[in-house]
């Protein structure tokens, strides 16, 4: 990769039909950066989950409301920032999917998976009130044990 960061940004209406494009772009980027097959898979899934959240929970699947997906390609890490035009939410307040009473719920695992598979995940509300999720995957995975 070049010495400076490359950026790739998709700004899409809230339509789940675009997920295929989002995944193709994600896979091209992780492939070009040299992520191994497994890391690329989890990045793909995290971008997918977060894009779905932005379109669905954030923008209520309103095709007029946009989701921006920004990829910042560094030499040793990929930073992804996904922004919607919804009303945001408090990431502290979402139910813990591991709590016994939630274990058999049919939903509520997306953010948990993103946190599990990405090296860093941050939630922030934009000035317009929408949600901005920023996640980082490092090329050389950190040693966790």
């Amino acid at each position: 990769m070049g010495a400076t960061s490359n950026t790739i940004e998709l700004v899409l209406g809230s339509n789940l039909d675009y997920l295929g494009l989002v995944e193709t772009v994600t896979d091209s980027i992780t492939g070009l950066m040299g992520f191994d097959q497994e890391a690329a898979y989890w990045v793909n899934m995290s971008v997918r989950e977060s894009s779905i959240n932005a379109m669905r929970h954030g923008n209520g699947l309103d095709p007029e409301k946009k989701v921006a997906i920004l990829f910042l390609v560094g030499t040793d890490e990929l930073l992804i920032r996904i922004t919607d035009q919804g009303r945001g939410f408090d990431p502290q307040s979402i139910p813990d999917p591991l709590a016994p009473e939630n274990l058999l719920k049919p939903s509520g695992r997306g953010i948990f998976y993103i946190r599990s598979f990405m090296d860093q995940v941050d939630f922030q509300q934009t000035d317009n009130g929408g949600m901005q999720v920023q996640m980082i995957k490092r090329l050389v995975p950190k040693q966790t044990n």
Partner: protein, 111 residues
């Protein structure tokens, strides 16, 4: 996603392949299980060996299939988890909820 149906000793085995993700994949699984239960087939094995992508909605759908079947007095087991699916189930503490098998003969026992 593609689902092929086999019956072995009153147990229905669904050989699934492709993706279980929001939309097409999850709906196909839901319909299939719903229909089986409607027909009175309450012994179900989901063979997931050829399922190469499951997202959080897909995991949720597997959970729904399991609970719906259990609630109707049936049993739903999982067969041939890929490494990634195993990881997804493991970190959300679902690996102990499901009855999981790597061998079809074993899975067919004790329904």
């Amino acid at each position: 996603m593609e689902i092929k149906k086999r019956t072995v000793n009153e147990v229905v085995i669904l050989d699934m392949s492709g993706k279980i993700t929001l939309g097409e994949g999850t709906a196909a699984l839901r319909n299939e299980v719903r229909n089986l239960l409607k027909e009175g087939c309450k012994k179900i094995i989901l063979n997931l060996g050829e399922v190469n992508y499951v997202d959080s909605s897909g995991i949720g759908e597997l959970v729904s299939a399991f609970t719906t079947t259990s609630n109707q007095g049936g049993k739903l087991k999982l067969l041939n988890l890929t490494k990634k699916l195993q990881e997804l189930l493991s970190i959300t503490k679902l690996l102990t909820v499901f009855e999981v098998h790597e061998d079809e003969q074993e899975a067919l026992k004790d329904f």
